[in-house]
Amino acid sequence: MTVNDRSVSGDIDPRTLLVHFIRENLNLTGTHIGCETSYCGACTVMFDGRTVKSCTVLAVAADGATITTIEGLAKNGQLHAVQEGFWERHGLQCGFCTPGMIMAAVGLLEENNNPSEDEIRHGIEGNLCRCTGYHNIVKAIEYAGAKLRGEEPPPAEWEVSA
């Protein structure tokens, strides 16, 4: 398979999960395991252009696929707009759900780069965060959407109130 623009291969036990292959064989530990039941979304990666939860995909099912993990999102040292949005708008606290959440947001914005708050909330509903109450994640995705549309992002709440 191709992972983050790099061709990779491995000889594995057929029951190996994609997330374990990514983490253990490829040493890409940015993709996290939060529940192993595809409920929390911490393991979300891009799989042939769509977001999937890599804890419930067998690695062999990804044979020949093109995968992007959080490590492959920034290009040439330039953060993806969603990564920038999470940083600029305090969209993360402990950071454990963050890689999966960012991948889900990337997938959402690729389909619709101008989502409403409801559409954002719906779009990331498959990814759980226990720290932020989602408030600033929504703001981070709004920021990224604006960036992707070439617009000036709305100011941060703390800038408005300061």
């Binding site: 530990t29 959080i70 953060l79 454990f96 226990r130 408030h135 994640i137 929504v138």
Partner: protein
């Protein structure tokens, strides 16, 4: 929104560049050469005798290295607990299991798949026994959870009654007088504060790496309390305190669940010593609720006696709290923490009594708020019911009964504890006079005119945090059981490096609170050094000063103050060195833009680089001055801090289905001074989500046999982004007077303020249908049932 920032301002977090690029390093990401992996054999029964364990077939399986049972680890003793009241946990079940999922055997294998395969092949012959799950049944002592204990009630925390002898007499007299006037109302309700599963998204993980060449144990653990864990391991294995290094790298959420010392941490340490290889255990989500502490689990009756015009004459709380089967770190102390805020913000006499009861369920301990959300929930729910009963606005009742602002600082609560600062009337009015609150009222009225069941809930709270004063160490606010000499004092070390960059080393154990950012702001501001040049490190016991960890919203108020004072020490010494170089008086030295300047003589300055060079060339220093430019401070506050606030929620209920939706949420919190508004608001958001989630979604349910029915995220629904609205936050600022920063702490306030606010709103929505109370969580079926019960 109004915010005041006196100390820092909102800057992008230092922690984030790694975390947003997948470069953050959590325990499960760490791979040591030769690592072995653990899986546990867990009991399917809540209470059973273990007749035999046969691991022979499992031992023959591929990749299996060792299988351990109680026989192998009994000599290590029971798991240490800081407040050791009740039955302590055996490291592995010893002849009997006391809760479902209790670890019976530990398999060590070459990888986690093989370890799990072998764990499944271990044959255990159980003889099931009757499980005691219901807390009231347990409290009746008809059958014992642990035969060796005299009662299932481990301890009863009682505060009051009503202050003192004089207070009791005065209260009784007032009640008698009111009765004579026929001016008395008594409102009483039994309410549940259900069990919760903390559910950090990162499951707990631990790696132990014993090196017998160095005689040293290195443990990586997703813990909030690295120093306490190091102490516990040293004590358990008879090692010197300096032979155990605990490293807490990135920790993926804690919420109190990682404020504990766990049997698995001792067991991997044991296995590593036995095998001479690193041993790793990562919890699966499915086993996490059986292995990591749960929270809450109270049932209590709250009673208010008051006059018809809103003067509360007495408040009583009488209830039970579920401790689970085994006592861990602070288990029985959690309800005690509730007593601190038992009388809330009010001046009325209070009598508070909670029995701590053991059952055949997983241990409970600190979960975000830890005793305080429970205490405030009961008080604020019954006050709301009382206000409705006398048909008086809840805000008016509050204003009538609040401790007056003139009593602060240092007001004493009727339940006996002394506050720092407070301004409850100002804070509540700031909320109820706000445009946001008016909007909630008009939205409710408009919806009602359309026939919709929309309710407005109000509540306020005071909490206690910032532990704490060293004088409280005798009450369990210390790590002495784990062999540490420490009270819950803060500590911080500030070091100026040769290039005038700054290293700050702190003793906290953050899990997303942004300490690397906030502490850098604090220290940079004092030293006049660019924030970008200050690096904050934490979570490695080998290099950090004695540390207490991160919990109880204590880090900024205690450890932040310590780092601040260490920075002041460094600055004072640097001023003397600069004065010596510039031939000026140290009193005239000011620091900014990376240099020391003489006040009034802008051309006379010396850079931090030159100051630190002098500091490490003692011959260049003033006569008698010691070399070096670093300082360590230990800070012990005179009192804990007491944040407070008021919240309002707008909730809609569909009476046909019971479906309940949170429409709006507005806060007016007061956590004293604010270092970074961005981080403080983030803490409130997360705290709100957890309190609201208790009110609406989460419920750890055991069946009669003690099976946990909610061990997956499907059965135990955490809120998704769609379940919550955006929050509308504001604050008042009443600085604390017990630390030099004037900060109070904000990690738990959102949780403590919110559950009852949502329930009050739901009751408001359904009051006209006759609903007076609904136990949490407000899931459709329960709400629908409450409506049916009220109608019948």
């Amino acid at each position: 929104m109004s915010t005041t920032s006196v100390l820092g301002g909102s800057v992008r977090r230092r922690e984030d560049p790694a975390l947003i690029r997948g470069k953050g390093r959590f325990v499960d990401d760490i791979k040591l050469a030769g690592t072995t992996h653990v899986a546990f054999v867990r009991s399917p029964f809540a209470h059973a005798k273990i007749n035999s364990i046969d691991a022979s077939a499992a031992m023959e399986m591929e990749g299996v290295i060792a299988i351990y049972t109680a026989d192998d680890v009994r000599h290590l003793g029971l798991l240490l607990a800081q407040v050791a009241i009740g039955r302590l946990r055996p490291l592995l079940a010893d002849g009997v299991v006391k809760h479902a999922g209790e670890a019976v055997a530990m398999v060590v294998a070459e990888n986690r798949y093989l370890a799990q395969d072998a764990a499944d092949a271990v044959e255990v012959d159980y003889e099931p026994m009757k499980a005691i799950v219901d807390i009231k049944e347990a409290a009746s002592d008809k059958a014992m959870v642990h035969e060796e204990l005299e009662s299932n009630t481990l301890i009863t925390w009682e505060a009051g009654p009503w202050g003192n002898e004089e207070g009791i007499a005065a209260t009784k007299e007032k009640i008698a007088e009111a009765k004579k006037r026929d001016d008395i109302v008594t409102v009483s309700m039994e309410m549940k504060n259900q069990r919760l599963i903390p559910t950090a998204i990162e499951p707990r993980a631990v790696i132990a790496d014993w090196n017998d060449g160095y005689g040293r144990m290195t443990v990586y653990s997703s813990t909030q309390i690295p120093h306490a864990l190091a102490g516990a391991i040293a004590k358990t294995f008879g090692l010197a305190a300096n032979a155990v290094d605990v490293i807490a790298p990135e920790v993926g959420g804690g919420f109190g669940a990682k404020l504990n010392v766990y049997a698995d941490e001792m067991l991997v340490s044991f296995a590593s010593m036995q095998l001479g290889r690193p041993v790793k255990y990562t919890e699966s989500r499915r086993e996490s609720p059986y292995n990591t502490i749960q929270g809450r689990g109270w049932v209590a009756t709250a009673t208010i006696t008051g006059t018809k015009d809103g003067e509360v004459l007495a408040f009583e709380l009488d209830g039970l709290a579920d401790m689970g089967a085994y006592t861990q770190n602070f288990t029985v102390a959690i309800p005690f923490l509730g007593t601190f805020v038992g009388s809330g913000q009010y001046k009325f006499p209070t009598h508070w009594k909670i029995g701590c009861v053991t059952t055949h369920t997983m241990t409970t301990d600190a979960y975000r708020g830890a005793g305080r959300p429970e205490a405030i929930y009961y008080l604020e729910r019954i006050l709301d019911a009382y206000a409705r009963e006398i048909e008086m606005d809840l805000a008016e009742v509050k204003l009538k009964n609040f401790i007056p602002e003139s009593d602060f600082p240092g007001a004493v609560a009727p339940i006996g504890f002394q506050f720092d600062t407070g301004a409850y009337q100002t804070n509540l009015k700031a909320l109820t006079d706000s445009a946001e609150y008016s909007e909630l009222k008009s939205l409710r009225d408009k919806a009602r005119a359309e026939g919709r069941h929309v309710g407005l809930g109000l509540s306020s709270y005071v909490e206690v945090c910032g532990f704490g004063p060293s004088a409280l160490s005798g009450l369990g606010f210390s790590w002495t059981t784990y062999g540490l000499p420490s009270a819950f004092s803060g500590s911080g070390l500030v070091r100026i490096n040769g290039d005038a960059s700054v290293t700050v080393i702190i003793g906290t154990g953050p899990s997303g609170q942004g300490h690397e950012t906030t502490w850098a702001q604090l220290v940079a501001g004092q030293l006049g050094i660019d924030y970008e040049k200050v690096r904050v490190t934490h979570g490695n016991t080998a290099e950090s000063p004695m540390g207490i960890g991160t919990f109880g919203s204590r880090s900024a108020a205690v450890d932040g103050a310590a780092s601040y004072e260490a920075a002041l020490k460094v600055k004072a010494k640097a001023a003397q060195i600069a004065a010596h170089i510039l031939e000026a008086s140290a009193d005239d030295i000011e620091f900014s833009d990376g240099s020391a300047h003489v006040a009034g003589s802008p051309d006379k300055s010396v850079s931090w680089e030159d100051i630190v060079t002098s500091a490490y060339h003692p011959h260049m220093l003033p006569e008698g001055m010691e070399g070096g430019l670093e300082a360590h401070s230990v800070f012990s506050p005179a009192n804990a801090t007491w944040p407070f606030g008021a919240h309002a929620a707008l909730v809609e209920v569909d009476p046909e289905t019971g479906f309940t939706q949170l429409l709006r949420y507005v806060t007016m919190d007061d956590c004293g001074n604010v270092i970074s508004p961005m981080i403080v608001d983030g803490q409130i958001h997360g705290g709100l989500a957890q309190g609201i989630s208790q009110a609406m979604f989460e419920d750890a349910i055991y069946d009669e046999e003690g099976n946990l029915l909610t061990s997956s995220l499907v059965d135990y629904p955490l809120p998704t982004a769609q379940d919550l609205p955006s929050f509308n936050l504001s604050r008042t600022v009443t600085p604390s007077d017990v630390n030099p920063l004037g900060v109070k702490g904000i990690g738990e306030a959102g949780t403590i303020g919110s559950a009852q606010t949502v329930v009050n709103a739901a009751v408001d929505a359904l009051y006209d249908l006759g609903v007076r109370h609904i136990d949490m969580p407000l899931r459709s079926r329960r709400v629908w049932q409450a409506i049916q019960d009220a109608r019948s």
